[in-house]
Protein backbone atom coordinates (compact mmCIF):
# COMPACT_ATOMS: atom_id res chain seq x y z
CA UNK A 1 0.00 0.00 0.00
CA UNK A 2 1.19 3.53 -0.84
CA UNK A 3 -0.13 7.05 -0.31
CA UNK A 4 -0.70 10.07 -2.52
CA UNK A 5 -1.19 13.22 -0.48
CA UNK A 6 -3.41 16.23 -0.72
CA UNK A 7 -0.95 19.07 -0.77
CA UNK A 8 1.78 18.66 -3.37
CA UNK A 9 3.57 21.69 -1.90
CA UNK A 10 4.23 20.32 1.56
CA UNK A 11 4.35 16.57 0.94
CA UNK A 12 7.70 16.66 -0.89
CA UNK A 13 10.93 17.36 0.98
CA UNK A 14 12.35 20.55 -0.59
CA UNK A 15 15.94 19.45 0.04
CA UNK A 16 15.66 16.18 -1.86
CA UNK A 17 16.04 15.80 -5.61
CA UNK A 18 13.42 13.98 -7.65
CA UNK A 19 15.77 11.00 -7.79
CA UNK A 20 15.97 10.88 -3.99
CA UNK A 21 12.22 11.40 -3.51
CA UNK A 22 11.09 8.76 -5.97
CA UNK A 23 14.05 6.43 -5.32
CA UNK A 24 13.87 6.41 -1.53
CA UNK A 25 11.13 3.78 -1.20
CA UNK A 26 13.18 1.60 -3.61
CA UNK A 27 16.25 1.92 -1.42
CA UNK A 28 14.23 1.15 1.69
CA UNK A 29 12.90 -1.93 -0.07
CA UNK A 30 16.37 -3.22 -0.79
CA UNK A 31 17.26 -1.87 -4.23
CA UNK A 32 20.77 -0.80 -3.21
CA UNK A 33 22.28 -0.67 -6.68
CA UNK A 34 22.24 2.99 -7.70
CA UNK A 35 22.23 2.31 -11.43
CA UNK A 36 19.20 0.09 -11.09
CA UNK A 37 17.47 2.81 -9.09
CA UNK A 38 18.25 5.45 -11.71
CA UNK A 39 16.68 3.26 -14.34
CA UNK A 40 13.59 2.56 -12.30
CA UNK A 41 13.14 6.23 -11.36
CA UNK A 42 13.46 7.22 -15.03
CA UNK A 43 10.82 4.66 -15.93
CA UNK A 44 8.49 5.94 -13.19
CA UNK A 45 8.93 9.57 -14.22
CA UNK A 46 8.06 8.66 -17.80
CA UNK A 47 5.04 6.75 -16.55
CA UNK A 48 3.61 9.86 -14.88
CA UNK A 49 4.47 12.15 -17.78
CA UNK A 50 7.63 13.81 -16.49
CA UNK A 51 10.98 13.88 -18.26
CA UNK A 52 13.65 11.61 -16.78
CA UNK A 53 16.18 14.44 -17.30
CA UNK A 54 14.49 16.27 -14.42
CA UNK A 55 15.75 13.66 -11.98
CA UNK A 56 18.38 15.88 -10.39
CA UNK A 57 16.07 18.86 -9.87
CA UNK A 58 14.41 19.91 -6.63
CA UNK A 59 10.62 20.15 -6.08
CA UNK A 60 10.55 23.96 -6.04
CA UNK A 61 11.28 23.96 -9.76
CA UNK A 62 7.95 22.27 -10.47
CA UNK A 63 4.35 23.42 -10.67
CA UNK A 64 1.61 22.03 -8.41
CA UNK A 65 0.47 19.55 -11.03
CA UNK A 66 4.01 18.38 -11.71
CA UNK A 67 4.59 17.94 -7.98
CA UNK A 68 1.49 15.81 -7.74
CA UNK A 69 2.90 13.66 -10.56
CA UNK A 70 6.11 13.29 -8.54
CA UNK A 71 4.02 12.16 -5.56
CA UNK A 72 2.28 9.59 -7.75
CA UNK A 73 5.61 8.34 -9.13
CA UNK A 74 6.85 7.90 -5.56
CA UNK A 75 3.70 6.03 -4.57
CA UNK A 76 4.02 3.68 -7.55
CA UNK A 77 7.74 2.99 -7.15
CA UNK A 78 7.37 -0.21 -5.17
CA UNK A 79 4.58 -1.70 -7.31
CA UNK A 80 1.77 -1.38 -4.78
CA UNK A 81 -1.56 -3.00 -5.47
CA UNK A 82 -3.47 -0.55 -3.31
CA UNK A 83 -2.91 3.21 -3.49
CA UNK A 84 -4.55 5.53 -0.98
CA UNK A 85 -5.09 8.93 -2.57
CA UNK A 86 -6.04 11.55 0.01
CA UNK A 87 -7.68 14.49 -1.81
CA UNK A 88 -5.12 14.19 -4.61
CA UNK A 89 -6.58 16.95 -6.77
CA UNK A 90 -8.24 19.36 -4.35
CA UNK A 91 -5.20 21.64 -4.05
CA UNK A 92 -4.73 21.77 -7.82
CA UNK A 93 -5.97 24.27 -10.35
CA UNK A 94 -8.88 23.28 -12.53
CA UNK A 95 -6.87 22.78 -15.71
CA UNK A 96 -4.34 20.64 -13.84
CA UNK A 97 -6.97 18.55 -12.04
CA UNK A 98 -8.12 17.04 -15.32
CA UNK A 99 -4.58 15.99 -16.22
CA UNK A 100 -4.06 14.25 -12.88
CA UNK A 101 -7.46 12.52 -12.97
CA UNK A 102 -6.74 11.25 -16.49
CA UNK A 103 -3.32 10.03 -15.37
CA UNK A 104 -4.76 8.20 -12.37
CA UNK A 105 -7.40 6.45 -14.47
CA UNK A 106 -4.85 5.51 -17.09
CA UNK A 107 -2.40 4.11 -14.52
CA UNK A 108 -5.17 2.18 -12.87
CA UNK A 109 -5.98 0.38 -16.11
CA UNK A 110 -2.37 -0.25 -17.04
CA UNK A 111 -1.18 -1.43 -13.62
CA UNK A 112 -4.45 -2.96 -12.43
CA UNK A 113 -4.41 -0.78 -9.32
CA UNK A 114 -6.97 -0.44 -6.58
CA UNK A 115 -7.49 3.11 -5.36
CA UNK A 116 -8.88 4.21 -2.05
CA UNK A 117 -9.79 7.70 -3.15
CA UNK A 118 -10.58 10.21 -0.40
CA UNK A 119 -12.29 13.37 -1.65
CA UNK A 120 -15.05 15.83 -0.96
CA UNK A 121 -15.73 16.92 -4.53
CA UNK A 122 -18.70 14.79 -5.52
CA UNK A 123 -18.24 15.29 -9.26
CA UNK A 124 -14.67 14.07 -8.99
CA UNK A 125 -15.71 11.07 -6.86
CA UNK A 126 -18.42 10.17 -9.36
CA UNK A 127 -15.91 10.37 -12.20
CA UNK A 128 -13.26 8.15 -10.60
CA UNK A 129 -14.89 5.72 -8.21
CA UNK A 130 -16.79 2.47 -8.72
CA UNK A 131 -18.00 2.35 -5.16
CA UNK A 132 -18.44 5.07 -2.57
CA UNK A 133 -18.43 4.99 1.21
CA UNK A 134 -19.77 8.01 3.10
CA UNK A 135 -18.37 8.72 6.55
CA UNK A 136 -19.67 10.93 9.35
CA UNK A 137 -17.69 11.58 12.53
CA UNK A 138 -15.47 8.57 12.01
CA UNK A 139 -18.17 6.06 11.12
CA UNK A 140 -19.40 4.66 7.83
CA UNK A 141 -23.00 5.72 7.31
CA UNK A 142 -23.55 4.46 3.76
CA UNK A 143 -21.81 2.47 1.05
CA UNK A 144 -22.99 1.58 -2.45
CA UNK A 145 -22.05 1.53 -6.10
CA UNK A 146 -21.42 5.09 -7.21
CA UNK A 147 -24.31 5.68 -9.58
CA UNK A 148 -26.80 3.99 -7.28
CA UNK A 149 -25.63 6.08 -4.33
CA UNK A 150 -25.96 9.30 -6.33
CA UNK A 151 -29.38 8.45 -7.72
CA UNK A 152 -30.90 7.00 -4.55
CA UNK A 153 -29.08 7.88 -1.34
CA UNK A 154 -30.50 6.12 1.71
CA UNK A 155 -28.88 8.08 4.52
CA UNK A 156 -30.04 11.64 5.33
CA UNK A 157 -26.43 12.77 5.67
CA UNK A 158 -25.59 11.50 2.19
CA UNK A 159 -28.59 13.35 0.80
CA UNK A 160 -27.57 16.53 2.61
CA UNK A 161 -24.04 16.23 1.24
CA UNK A 162 -25.35 15.83 -2.29
CA UNK A 163 -27.41 18.94 -1.83
CA UNK A 164 -24.55 20.93 -0.31
CA UNK A 165 -22.09 20.35 -3.10
CA UNK A 166 -22.12 23.28 -5.51
CA UNK A 167 -22.66 21.98 -9.04
CA UNK A 168 -20.89 23.87 -11.80
CA UNK A 169 -24.10 24.72 -13.62
CA UNK A 170 -26.14 27.81 -12.71
CA UNK A 171 -29.30 26.13 -14.04
CA UNK A 172 -29.05 23.36 -11.43
CA UNK A 173 -29.65 25.06 -8.09
CA UNK A 174 -28.09 23.10 -5.25
CA UNK A 175 -28.38 23.67 -1.53
CA UNK A 176 -32.07 22.82 -1.11
CA UNK A 177 -31.48 20.69 1.99
CA UNK A 178 -30.02 22.88 4.70
CA UNK A 179 -27.83 21.13 7.19
CA UNK A 180 -27.88 23.15 10.40
CA UNK A 181 -25.27 23.04 13.14
CA UNK A 182 -21.74 21.77 13.06
CA UNK A 183 -19.91 18.48 12.76
CA UNK A 184 -19.52 17.22 16.36
CA UNK A 185 -16.11 16.47 17.77
CA UNK A 186 -15.17 12.78 17.47
CA UNK A 187 -13.88 12.99 21.05
CA UNK A 188 -17.36 13.74 22.32
CA UNK A 189 -19.85 12.32 19.83
CA UNK A 190 -23.64 12.53 20.31
CA UNK A 191 -25.59 9.55 21.66
CA UNK A 192 -27.36 7.06 19.40
CA UNK A 193 -26.95 7.91 15.74
CA UNK A 194 -24.13 10.47 15.57
CA UNK A 195 -26.10 12.39 12.99
CA UNK A 196 -29.32 12.76 14.98
CA UNK A 197 -28.79 16.34 16.30
CA UNK A 198 -28.61 17.61 12.71
CA UNK A 199 -31.06 15.19 11.12
CA UNK A 200 -34.47 16.48 10.12
CA UNK A 201 -35.88 12.94 10.22
CA UNK A 202 -34.64 11.98 13.70
CA UNK A 203 -37.08 10.04 15.91
CA UNK A 204 -36.68 8.97 19.54
CA UNK A 205 -34.89 5.75 18.62
CA UNK A 206 -32.18 7.82 16.86
CA UNK A 207 -31.28 9.57 20.11
CA UNK A 208 -30.93 6.27 21.97
CA UNK A 209 -29.75 3.49 19.69
CA UNK A 210 -26.85 3.55 17.25
CA UNK A 211 -28.27 2.16 14.00
CA UNK A 212 -26.57 -0.96 12.59
CA UNK A 213 -24.72 -0.75 9.29
CA UNK A 214 -26.87 -3.16 7.29
CA UNK A 215 -27.43 -4.26 3.72
CA UNK A 216 -30.66 -2.64 2.60
CA UNK A 217 -30.51 -3.91 -0.97
CA UNK A 218 -27.85 -6.01 -2.68
CA UNK A 219 -24.50 -4.31 -2.10
CA UNK A 220 -26.05 -1.16 -0.68
CA UNK A 221 -25.25 -0.65 3.00
CA UNK A 222 -26.64 2.02 5.29
CA UNK A 223 -26.74 2.87 8.99
CA UNK A 224 -30.07 4.60 9.55
CA UNK A 225 -33.17 3.56 11.51
CA UNK A 226 -35.47 5.01 8.90
CA UNK A 227 -33.67 3.97 5.72
CA UNK A 228 -36.55 1.73 4.58
CA UNK A 229 -39.24 4.37 4.73
CA UNK A 230 -37.42 7.58 3.69
CA UNK A 231 -37.48 8.81 0.10
CA UNK A 232 -34.42 11.02 -0.21
CA UNK A 233 -33.43 13.14 -3.20
CA UNK A 234 -30.23 12.32 -5.03
CA UNK A 235 -28.53 13.86 -8.02
CA UNK A 236 -29.01 12.02 -11.26
Amino acid sequence: MQMIFQDPYVSLNPRMTLFDIVGEPLLVNGMTNRKERVERVAELLRLVGLRPEYMQRYPHAFSGGQRQRIGIARALSVNPRLVVADEPVSALDVSVQAQILNLMLDLQKRLNLTYLFVAHNLSVVRHICDRVAVMYVGKLVEMADTLELYAAPKHPYTAALMSAVPVADPRIKTGSVELKGEVPSPANPPSGCYFHPRCEFAIDACRIDAPAFREISPNHFVACHRADELKLPGIA
Binding site: S95, Q97, S123, R126, P166, A168, L179, V183, I235
Partner: protein, 340 residues
Protein backbone atom coordinates in the same frame (compact mmCIF):
# COMPACT_ATOMS: atom_id res chain seq x y z
CA UNK B 1 -28.54 55.48 -5.53
CA UNK B 2 -30.09 53.01 -7.97
CA UNK B 3 -28.77 49.70 -9.17
CA UNK B 4 -28.18 50.76 -12.77
CA UNK B 5 -25.02 52.78 -12.23
CA UNK B 6 -21.91 50.94 -11.09
CA UNK B 7 -20.90 51.35 -7.50
CA UNK B 8 -17.32 50.44 -8.37
CA UNK B 9 -15.64 50.90 -11.74
CA UNK B 10 -12.16 49.65 -12.43
CA UNK B 11 -10.51 50.86 -15.61
CA UNK B 12 -7.36 49.42 -17.17
CA UNK B 13 -5.83 48.68 -13.76
CA UNK B 14 -2.20 47.60 -13.69
CA UNK B 15 -0.38 46.44 -10.57
CA UNK B 16 3.27 45.46 -10.94
CA UNK B 17 5.83 44.04 -8.52
CA UNK B 18 9.36 45.11 -9.43
CA UNK B 19 11.55 42.32 -8.03
CA UNK B 20 15.28 41.70 -8.43
CA UNK B 21 14.65 38.86 -10.87
CA UNK B 22 12.29 40.95 -13.00
CA UNK B 23 8.89 42.60 -12.88
CA UNK B 24 5.82 40.55 -12.02
CA UNK B 25 2.92 42.13 -13.91
CA UNK B 26 0.37 40.64 -11.52
CA UNK B 27 -2.51 42.72 -12.88
CA UNK B 28 -1.95 44.08 -16.34
CA UNK B 29 -4.95 45.97 -17.60
CA UNK B 30 -8.15 44.90 -15.86
CA UNK B 31 -11.51 46.58 -16.46
CA UNK B 32 -14.87 45.83 -14.84
CA UNK B 33 -17.95 47.36 -13.21
CA UNK B 34 -19.70 46.18 -10.06
CA UNK B 35 -23.31 47.12 -9.28
CA UNK B 36 -25.20 47.29 -6.00
CA UNK B 37 -27.15 44.14 -5.24
CA UNK B 38 -24.91 42.04 -7.45
CA UNK B 39 -22.71 39.06 -6.69
CA UNK B 40 -19.74 39.68 -8.94
CA UNK B 41 -17.71 36.50 -9.26
CA UNK B 42 -14.04 36.37 -10.23
CA UNK B 43 -12.60 33.03 -11.32
CA UNK B 44 -9.18 32.12 -12.54
CA UNK B 45 -6.37 29.76 -11.71
CA UNK B 46 -3.76 30.30 -9.03
CA UNK B 47 -1.64 33.39 -9.60
CA UNK B 48 -3.85 35.05 -12.23
CA UNK B 49 -4.18 38.20 -10.14
CA UNK B 50 -7.53 37.87 -8.37
CA UNK B 51 -6.31 38.80 -4.89
CA UNK B 52 -3.92 41.50 -6.09
CA UNK B 53 -6.74 43.20 -8.02
CA UNK B 54 -8.80 43.38 -4.84
CA UNK B 55 -5.87 44.48 -2.70
CA UNK B 56 -5.44 47.33 -5.17
CA UNK B 57 -9.10 48.32 -4.73
CA UNK B 58 -8.52 48.48 -0.97
CA UNK B 59 -5.11 50.10 -1.50
CA UNK B 60 -3.35 47.42 0.53
CA UNK B 61 -0.97 46.03 -2.10
CA UNK B 62 2.23 44.98 -0.32
CA UNK B 63 5.41 46.78 -1.38
CA UNK B 64 7.20 46.64 -3.72
CA UNK B 65 3.88 46.15 -5.53
CA UNK B 66 2.48 49.34 -7.06
CA UNK B 67 -0.52 50.49 -9.02
CA UNK B 68 1.21 51.68 -12.16
CA UNK B 69 -1.83 52.59 -14.26
CA UNK B 70 -5.58 52.77 -14.28
CA UNK B 71 -8.44 54.09 -12.23
CA UNK B 72 -10.60 52.69 -9.46
CA UNK B 73 -13.76 54.77 -9.20
CA UNK B 74 -15.98 54.41 -6.15
CA UNK B 75 -19.39 56.03 -6.39
CA UNK B 76 -20.93 57.17 -3.14
CA UNK B 77 -23.84 59.35 -2.30
CA UNK B 78 -23.22 62.42 -0.20
CA UNK B 79 -25.62 64.88 1.29
CA UNK B 80 -25.86 67.83 -1.10
CA UNK B 81 -27.31 71.28 -0.55
CA UNK B 82 -30.82 71.36 1.00
CA UNK B 83 -30.59 67.76 2.16
CA UNK B 84 -30.69 66.12 -1.28
CA UNK B 85 -28.48 63.14 -2.08
CA UNK B 86 -25.94 63.46 -4.84
CA UNK B 87 -23.48 61.05 -6.36
CA UNK B 88 -19.86 61.63 -5.65
CA UNK B 89 -17.11 59.88 -7.62
CA UNK B 90 -13.74 59.28 -6.02
CA UNK B 91 -10.75 57.81 -7.78
CA UNK B 92 -9.17 55.55 -5.18
CA UNK B 93 -5.88 55.34 -7.08
CA UNK B 94 -5.41 59.06 -6.53
CA UNK B 95 -5.74 58.79 -2.75
CA UNK B 96 -2.98 58.43 -0.21
CA UNK B 97 -3.18 54.72 0.73
CA UNK B 98 -2.81 55.47 4.43
CA UNK B 99 -4.57 58.82 4.42
CA UNK B 100 -7.79 59.78 6.17
CA UNK B 101 -10.15 59.34 3.20
CA UNK B 102 -8.86 55.91 2.27
CA UNK B 103 -9.04 54.80 5.90
CA UNK B 104 -12.64 55.95 6.08
CA UNK B 105 -13.48 53.90 2.98
CA UNK B 106 -11.54 50.76 3.86
CA UNK B 107 -13.51 48.55 6.22
CA UNK B 108 -16.52 50.85 6.19
CA UNK B 109 -17.57 51.24 2.56
CA UNK B 110 -15.49 48.44 1.11
CA UNK B 111 -14.82 45.52 3.43
CA UNK B 112 -12.72 42.42 2.92
CA UNK B 113 -12.98 38.80 3.95
CA UNK B 114 -9.32 37.94 3.33
CA UNK B 115 -8.03 34.77 1.74
CA UNK B 116 -5.94 33.90 4.80
CA UNK B 117 -8.54 33.57 7.59
CA UNK B 118 -5.84 33.80 10.24
CA UNK B 119 -5.05 37.32 9.04
CA UNK B 120 -8.49 38.56 10.08
CA UNK B 121 -8.27 38.38 13.84
CA UNK B 122 -5.38 38.99 16.17
CA UNK B 123 -4.89 36.03 18.53
CA UNK B 124 -4.25 38.27 21.55
CA UNK B 125 -7.57 40.16 21.56
CA UNK B 126 -11.08 38.75 21.86
CA UNK B 127 -13.15 38.81 18.71
CA UNK B 128 -15.57 41.16 20.47
CA UNK B 129 -12.88 43.73 21.21
CA UNK B 130 -11.77 43.66 17.59
CA UNK B 131 -15.24 44.01 16.12
CA UNK B 132 -16.07 46.78 18.60
CA UNK B 133 -12.87 48.62 17.74
CA UNK B 134 -13.69 48.43 14.02
CA UNK B 135 -17.19 49.76 14.64
CA UNK B 136 -15.95 52.66 16.78
CA UNK B 137 -13.35 53.56 14.18
CA UNK B 138 -16.01 54.18 11.55
CA UNK B 139 -19.15 55.10 13.45
CA UNK B 140 -19.89 57.77 16.05
CA UNK B 141 -20.97 55.39 18.81
CA UNK B 142 -19.72 54.71 22.32
CA UNK B 143 -18.34 51.43 23.63
CA UNK B 144 -21.72 50.18 24.89
CA UNK B 145 -23.53 50.89 21.66
CA UNK B 146 -20.70 49.36 19.66
CA UNK B 147 -20.94 46.19 21.74
CA UNK B 148 -24.66 46.02 21.03
CA UNK B 149 -24.04 46.31 17.29
CA UNK B 150 -21.32 43.64 17.47
CA UNK B 151 -23.64 41.31 19.34
CA UNK B 152 -26.36 41.81 16.76
CA UNK B 153 -23.84 41.08 13.98
CA UNK B 154 -22.82 37.76 15.55
CA UNK B 155 -26.53 36.92 15.84
CA UNK B 156 -27.16 37.89 12.22
CA UNK B 157 -24.49 35.54 10.95
CA UNK B 158 -25.99 32.70 12.98
CA UNK B 159 -23.45 32.28 15.77
CA UNK B 160 -25.06 30.48 18.73
CA UNK B 161 -24.67 32.02 22.23
CA UNK B 162 -23.25 35.24 20.73
CA UNK B 163 -22.71 37.09 24.01
CA UNK B 164 -20.36 34.35 25.16
CA UNK B 165 -18.55 34.19 21.81
CA UNK B 166 -17.91 37.91 21.88
CA UNK B 167 -15.48 37.38 24.76
CA UNK B 168 -13.64 34.48 23.17
CA UNK B 169 -10.51 34.43 21.06
CA UNK B 170 -10.56 33.47 17.39
CA UNK B 171 -8.50 30.35 18.02
CA UNK B 172 -11.18 29.03 20.39
CA UNK B 173 -13.72 28.86 17.55
CA UNK B 174 -14.26 26.01 15.12
CA UNK B 175 -13.48 26.68 11.46
CA UNK B 176 -17.13 27.29 10.63
CA UNK B 177 -17.72 29.67 13.54
CA UNK B 178 -14.49 31.53 12.86
CA UNK B 179 -15.53 32.08 9.25
CA UNK B 180 -18.86 33.45 10.48
CA UNK B 181 -17.10 35.76 12.93
CA UNK B 182 -14.91 37.03 10.09
CA UNK B 183 -18.02 37.74 8.05
CA UNK B 184 -19.61 39.49 11.04
CA UNK B 185 -16.52 41.67 11.41
CA UNK B 186 -16.48 42.51 7.69
CA UNK B 187 -20.16 43.42 7.78
CA UNK B 188 -20.11 45.34 11.05
CA UNK B 189 -19.86 48.73 9.35
CA UNK B 190 -22.49 48.01 6.72
CA UNK B 191 -20.17 48.07 3.71
CA UNK B 192 -21.69 48.70 0.30
CA UNK B 193 -19.05 46.51 -1.30
CA UNK B 194 -17.96 43.27 0.35
CA UNK B 195 -14.97 41.51 -1.11
CA UNK B 196 -14.94 37.81 -0.23
CA UNK B 197 -11.61 36.26 -1.26
CA UNK B 198 -11.98 32.45 -1.27
CA UNK B 199 -14.22 32.59 1.82
CA UNK B 200 -14.92 28.87 1.93
CA UNK B 201 -11.70 27.11 0.97
CA UNK B 202 -10.83 26.34 4.59
CA UNK B 203 -14.19 24.83 5.61
CA UNK B 204 -16.00 21.55 4.92
CA UNK B 205 -18.73 21.14 2.32
CA UNK B 206 -21.75 21.53 4.59
CA UNK B 207 -20.23 24.59 6.31
CA UNK B 208 -19.46 25.98 2.88
CA UNK B 209 -23.13 25.69 1.97
CA UNK B 210 -24.07 27.52 5.17
CA UNK B 211 -21.58 30.33 4.53
CA UNK B 212 -22.73 30.76 0.93
CA UNK B 213 -26.36 30.88 1.97
CA UNK B 214 -25.49 33.46 4.64
CA UNK B 215 -23.64 35.71 2.19
CA UNK B 216 -26.52 35.50 -0.26
CA UNK B 217 -29.02 36.49 2.40
CA UNK B 218 -26.94 39.40 3.66
CA UNK B 219 -26.45 40.67 0.16
CA UNK B 220 -30.20 40.57 -0.51
CA UNK B 221 -31.13 42.18 2.81
CA UNK B 222 -28.68 45.02 2.45
CA UNK B 223 -28.54 45.46 -1.32
CA UNK B 224 -24.76 45.35 -1.00
CA UNK B 225 -22.46 44.26 -3.78
CA UNK B 226 -20.37 41.17 -3.17
CA UNK B 227 -17.20 40.57 -5.10
CA UNK B 228 -16.72 36.85 -4.77
CA UNK B 229 -13.34 35.34 -5.59
CA UNK B 230 -12.82 31.61 -6.04
CA UNK B 231 -11.18 29.08 -8.29
CA UNK B 232 -14.10 26.69 -7.74
CA UNK B 233 -16.38 26.79 -10.76
CA UNK B 234 -19.15 25.06 -8.81
CA UNK B 235 -19.21 27.78 -6.17
CA UNK B 236 -19.19 30.48 -8.85
CA UNK B 237 -22.09 28.86 -10.73
CA UNK B 238 -24.18 28.77 -7.57
CA UNK B 239 -23.24 32.18 -6.16
CA UNK B 240 -22.53 34.70 -8.87
CA UNK B 241 -24.85 36.82 -10.96
CA UNK B 242 -22.02 38.04 -13.14
CA UNK B 243 -18.65 36.38 -13.74
CA UNK B 244 -15.23 37.65 -14.73
CA UNK B 245 -12.67 35.10 -15.94
CA UNK B 246 -9.02 36.06 -15.49
CA UNK B 247 -5.81 34.58 -16.85
CA UNK B 248 -2.28 35.87 -16.23
CA UNK B 249 -3.32 39.29 -14.97
CA UNK B 250 -5.87 39.97 -17.70
CA UNK B 251 -9.62 39.64 -18.19
CA UNK B 252 -10.41 36.94 -20.74
CA UNK B 253 -14.16 37.22 -20.60
CA UNK B 254 -16.96 38.59 -18.47
CA UNK B 255 -20.71 38.15 -18.61
CA UNK B 256 -23.87 36.99 -16.83
CA UNK B 257 -23.38 33.64 -15.10
CA UNK B 258 -25.69 31.76 -17.45
CA UNK B 259 -23.83 33.00 -20.54
CA UNK B 260 -20.45 32.15 -19.04
CA UNK B 261 -21.50 28.56 -18.30
CA UNK B 262 -23.81 27.90 -21.24
CA UNK B 263 -22.44 30.15 -23.97
CA UNK B 264 -18.80 30.83 -23.12
CA UNK B 265 -17.02 32.74 -25.88
CA UNK B 266 -13.37 32.78 -24.92
CA UNK B 267 -11.32 29.67 -25.77
CA UNK B 268 -9.91 29.68 -22.23
CA UNK B 269 -13.35 29.75 -20.60
CA UNK B 270 -14.50 27.01 -22.96
CA UNK B 271 -11.47 24.83 -22.22
CA UNK B 272 -11.77 25.38 -18.48
CA UNK B 273 -15.41 24.31 -18.42
CA UNK B 274 -14.73 21.25 -20.58
CA UNK B 275 -11.97 20.06 -18.27
CA UNK B 276 -14.07 19.69 -15.10
CA UNK B 277 -15.93 16.45 -14.40
CA UNK B 278 -19.66 17.10 -14.18
CA UNK B 279 -22.40 15.33 -12.32
CA UNK B 280 -24.08 14.20 -15.55
CA UNK B 281 -21.18 12.98 -17.70
CA UNK B 282 -20.15 9.37 -18.38
CA UNK B 283 -17.76 8.42 -15.59
CA UNK B 284 -14.17 7.38 -16.23
CA UNK B 285 -13.90 8.89 -19.68
CA UNK B 286 -10.79 10.92 -20.42
CA UNK B 287 -11.36 14.58 -19.59
CA UNK B 288 -10.33 17.09 -22.24
CA UNK B 289 -7.31 18.95 -20.90
CA UNK B 290 -5.68 22.27 -21.71
CA UNK B 291 -2.25 21.62 -23.23
CA UNK B 292 0.80 23.00 -21.49
CA UNK B 293 0.78 24.76 -18.17
CA UNK B 294 0.38 28.28 -16.82
CA UNK B 295 3.58 30.19 -17.68
CA UNK B 296 5.78 31.56 -14.95
CA UNK B 297 4.94 35.22 -14.21
CA UNK B 298 8.40 36.31 -15.37
CA UNK B 299 7.92 34.62 -18.74
CA UNK B 300 4.55 35.83 -19.82
CA UNK B 301 4.01 35.17 -23.50
CA UNK B 302 3.82 38.06 -25.88
CA UNK B 303 0.42 38.79 -27.45
CA UNK B 304 -2.67 37.07 -26.11
CA UNK B 305 -1.51 35.48 -22.82
CA UNK B 306 -3.41 32.29 -23.66
CA UNK B 307 -2.06 31.83 -27.20
CA UNK B 308 0.58 29.14 -26.49
CA UNK B 309 -2.19 26.90 -25.08
CA UNK B 310 -5.02 27.95 -27.38
CA UNK B 311 -6.31 25.54 -30.03
CA UNK B 312 -7.68 28.37 -32.13
CA UNK B 313 -4.67 30.67 -31.98
CA UNK B 314 -4.10 32.63 -35.20
CA UNK B 315 -0.40 32.72 -36.13
CA UNK B 316 0.96 36.19 -36.77
CA UNK B 317 -1.83 37.75 -34.81
CA UNK B 318 -2.48 36.17 -31.41
CA UNK B 319 1.27 35.91 -30.77
CA UNK B 320 1.83 39.58 -31.62
CA UNK B 321 -0.72 41.79 -29.90
CA UNK B 322 -2.96 41.63 -26.85
CA UNK B 323 -6.60 41.43 -27.99
CA UNK B 324 -8.64 44.30 -26.53
CA UNK B 325 -11.61 43.58 -24.30
CA UNK B 326 -14.64 44.16 -26.49
CA UNK B 327 -18.37 44.04 -25.99
CA UNK B 328 -20.07 41.15 -27.81
CA UNK B 329 -23.48 41.10 -26.20
CA UNK B 330 -25.63 43.27 -24.01
CA UNK B 331 -23.56 42.42 -20.97
CA UNK B 332 -20.81 40.16 -22.22
CA UNK B 333 -17.25 41.18 -23.04
CA UNK B 334 -14.44 39.08 -24.42
CA UNK B 335 -10.78 39.60 -25.14
CA UNK B 336 -10.01 37.41 -28.15
CA UNK B 337 -9.19 38.03 -31.83
CA UNK B 338 -11.78 35.45 -32.90
CA UNK B 339 -14.47 38.01 -32.15
CA UNK B 340 -13.16 41.03 -34.01
Amino acid sequence: MNNSTPILSVRDLKVHFPLDEGTVKAVDGVTFDVYAGQVFGIVGESGCGKSVTMKAVLRIVEPPGKIVAGEIILRRSVAGANGSQMDDLINLTALDASGRVMRSIRGAEIALIPQEPMASFSPVHTIGDQIIEAIMLHQAVNQREARKIALQMLKDVGIPIPDQRLDEYSWQLSGGLRQRAIIAMALSCNPRVLIADEPTTAVDVTTQAQVLRLLRRLQQDRNAAIIFITHDLGVIAQMADYVMVMYLGLVMEQGPVDEIFHAPKHPYTQALLRSIPTITMTPRENLPTITGSIPHPFNKPRGCPFHPRCEKSIAGKCDQAVPPLRRIGANQMVSCFLYE
